[in-house]
Symmetry: none
Subunit: 414 residues, 2 copies
Amino acid sequence: MTAEVVSVGTELLMGQTLDTHSSTLGRLLAEHGIACHRRTTVDDNLSRIEGVLREALERCDLVLTVGGLGPTADDLTRDAIAAALGEPLEPVPHIEMRLREYFASRGIDWNRAIARQALKPRGAETIDNPNGTAPGLHARKDGKTVVALPGPRGEFGPMVEGPLRAILESLAGGETIRSRTLRICGLGESQVEAALGEIMASEDPVVAPYAHPGEVHLRITARGASAEEAESVIEPVERQIREILGANVFGRDDQTLETVVLGLLRERSARVATAESLTGGGLSARLTGIPGASDVFAGGVVAYSAALKESLLGIDADVLQAESPVSEAVARAMAEGARSRLGAEYGLGLTGNAGPTADAGRKPVGQVWVACAGPGGTWATSHRFVGGREDVRTRAAQAALVLLRQMLLSEAER
Amino acid sequence: MTAEVVSVGTELLMGQTLDTHSSTLGRLLAEHGIACHRRTTVDDNLSRIEGVLREALERCDLVLTVGGLGPTADDLTRDAIAAALGEPLEPVPHIEMRLREYFASRGIDWNRAIARQALKPRGAETIDNPNGTAPGLHARKDGKTVVALPGPRGEFGPMVEGPLRAILESLAGGETIRSRTLRICGLGESQVEAALGEIMASEDPVVAPYAHPGEVHLRITARGASAEEAESVIEPVERQIREILGANVFGRDDQTLETVVLGLLRERSARVATAESLTGGGLSARLTGIPGASDVFAGGVVAYSAALKESLLGIDADVLQAESPVSEAVARAMAEGARSRLGAEYGLGLTGNAGPTADAGRKPVGQVWVACAGPGGTWATSHRFVGGREDVRTRAAQAALVLLRQMLLSEAER
């Protein structure tokens, strides 16, 4: 079973609108184990849309289109699908009735443009669109399937989550597809692959790795006659992976490192405070991006200068004079200062050179120290990150969260 | 002159990465008057990438590829371009030397995977990549052009702005295209359009609006036999727009609100400090995202609790008891506390409810106060932003920067 996504719209090609819908559909196809090798975006031109659809239908079993179903002159997807399938367009009485009522109630005269939305290629079915005027389309011919989805966000989302999911499950042979993502920190993609060995080659469930800054995500996908059956295929593999990777697995599905760390703090009724230099508030912004974070996030300080490190964090002037701002000693003192001055059980200190040039202390770009101070002492790690200023800052914040998580977990073990 | 964009990457098709680069390229092609009817995304499969390239080269004059130039086994774009053009790959000595030095300095052994990045199709040129290891490619054959760009953000952006722009101008038939973007704050897109009236309908130069959170960008594009000629078409229209919109135009081209504000501070040898609650460090992270910000960014404090507002910012306990945390009085006191405690000429205070639920003080989601304290007094504005937690936080930071800019400009007038 293979699929392609065709998104329609000159505004997409001109870069005026970002094509997020194709990404959404890509994730959904992957979840259903439907292979997708190609995605095409085409402008609002009838013969070109038709051409793209014909080519796609030759290569694969299922084509999902997005956009071009509305009433304006540049909404041509419906006509192009009919042409590509070699079927005439015909009116759908119940849709037409609904549209007539809708527009009459708004004092808008019925016209040809509106009426086009009540047409469908012969043999196709319409998909109800409770959030807009143009219905979706679901056409099958010669073993091929075309599903046309509307572009507006409020119409696209619900049609994908409801009717499209049902169509995909039925196409996947009545089978139910379930997938689970394990989130891993502290190991690179190749280390994860090496550690898991043959598990990565498993065909049922399929295990696929995805690298993110400072994280690896492993998606485990299985199919079965029922949700329980699919879950029962995933479960032993998930257990095996967790046994091999241990505490490197920090979360599942949508759990981010910050939600996991905030959750661990909440369980312990403990709070964290931050002292940042190179990340400039990025770590605290990330933690406070999570609703309810203020329960366990005490506060933060952004301090580049020695003066502020002394006044806000109470760091010893001797340390600041003797040591480079990018050093283990300063990272530790920042973490300890955040902990004591901001009144939290845990303090994180981050210092480093985010670039673009080597700093006054001649530390190379990407050199970072993070420290975590807790009731049992202070830990510190040094890093040398590759990449631009944003990359280095993101990875430094990630490293600080990893260190805090390690400390919280190690304390639970004792 | 027609072009197509080909983005390469299984992660794009699976919806794990959003394809923003294709949008960027779409805007650039449009600016240069190069028609783009189709964009394709293809997975990391050599024969499929080659197939997509062959098809695209048959339909159009210029193919831009993104991604797949790196060292790993799934980076196949270089090989696919060579195959589609029917040219062998050959090593580029100066690139190889650069890579050898780069990896040796990092203690990484030279290997075949790394070496592949120093290859190019015969007859092609490499495009220097000062921000990464893999160079870009610029190949011409039989009247067709292929330009291959790297996927990582920090490498893609500079290669597009420099070398790709130069290539597009030379391809645009010797005609020079110039465009300028005016960045506007304090007005919505429809207000801008209404204020500019007929200017928006201009055909030479073309004026196109783009809405961003808290900003509107107006792109003015003109073509001419020379850069001077194109500039001379843009200039009177830019002047007209600036006259109508006044100080709402805050910047040009790549100038962000934070770079503009940092620049105004630098001119005045003044510094700013921040006191944030709802934005949780997002404003300081944004300011410090700009290289060199630490010259004029004194530091920041993230304080949700009354205790920290008192201890770190020196806010009067009476104010904190009498007033809701989301109030004009608290925003003002935070701004003034940041200014005095962090030793800066200007202090910004931000408080509000970012959601998702109404806070303890019963302030509705989106209610925000921002204040700016300076040598001449303290200003405050209240806002009611629509959207999710991230939207509200982004717009609050934006509002604080707008307020600081207003204060800095008004002081210059006096």
